[in-house]
Symmetry: C3
């Protein structure tokens, strides 16, 4: 039987596991942020969520959209669209035997860029802060995909 | 050469594989549910989808939104936002050598909470049914992330 | 210590890595396509994105939705909803020791169907082009889930 705990002795894999867990936890914060704004601004998407604020027609006025909430939701969806490729490609890249320092540089750049992307989106900072942080994360993932396909293509 | 089939002899990993497959299959049901409501209620997002119901201006009236369809879509997006972190963090957690019974408790709680979340969202059940099931799934994922980072942090 | 680079000697796993990387890269193209249409059609979701096109009230007219942009966004979300289950179930399926030619057939069908889905969505081609390509990808993922649970169920 393979002792799976040994997989975690591989330094590249351990680094990937750490950075992936950090960026996924950050993404989960977006759910809490949405919930926070929905509660404090009384902006809901479902009738059953606002019954504590009033009955019948009185409750319906809380079924609306709000700029602040929509902004958090757009940031959350953008996270999903970019973190899913990072997870898939990053996992396979980590298993393809890359150089440790190159791999860590990729992971750090991605995680840093995505955190800065969230800050730029929620503050909001003027462009090109958000655009630039998006493209850094995007480029990091494509760079890992390129190295993976160059070394290990099997179709 | 590593015999990869041996990885599946690891009990924690087999349990993760089973629960992950079950919850992903449940998430895929949401696509079918959306399609079902779009067909039976004749509510479409694309002009090419409603040509069988009429031509020209007559078809355009089916390009609309519907409470029931939007509810399923929100439940689906909430699934994505929560199952993606579970998959990433759960996979790495499974490889980090956790105690079998602790790991299975995490997986069962998460899968149970997410199935109950879908039931609460689609029925809909009054709050706090949906809120509670959301937070159980959320807490399980954070608990796995915490154990992973505590034991294996490598930055 | 396990030499992780040996995992990539497994042919099924290498094939999965290649096809997963290709389909994730295709999904990332959807972000670039959205950005392209937003720029060329001057359709933005955030006030900070359109300041270069005018000041104050003049800029606000670019905060709108556009059929073309919404179409790309729907295709992107549909990709996410279908590629996430493929990644999770496909990874576990690849590790469960399937027959090489069966596995490659699954991966090729999925990747082909999803690429055709995107072409059908963005052109747009008349139905049932998009519907059919959706159901092929859906069926492939369910087929892998079925084989995984049949052989390796551990609850």
């Amino acid at each position: 039987m393979v002792d799976l705990t040994q997989i975690m002795d591989d330094e590249v894999f351990m680094a990937f596991a750490s950075y992936a867990t950090i960026i996924l936890s950050k993404m989960m914060l977006m759910s809490a942020t949405t919930a926070f704004y929905r509660m404090t601004r009384k902006v809901f998407a479902n009738p059953e969520d606002c019954v504590t604020f009033g009955k019948g027609e009185n409750a319906k006025k809380y079924l609306r959209t709000d700029d602040r909430v929509e902004r958090v939701r757009r940031a959350h969806l953008n996270d999903l669209e970019n973190i899913v490729p990072f997870l898939g490609i990053g996992l396979l890249y980590s298993l393809s035997g890359p150089d440790l320092s190159t791999a860590i540089l990729h992971f750090r750049l991605f995680v840093g860029a995505r955190i800065y992307h969230t800050i730029s989106y929620l503050t909001p900072l003027p462009q090109p802060n958000r655009g630039l942080s998006f493209f850094i994360g995007y480029g990091v993932t494509l760079s890992m995909a390129y190295r993976l396909l160059k070394n290990k293509l099997y179709l």
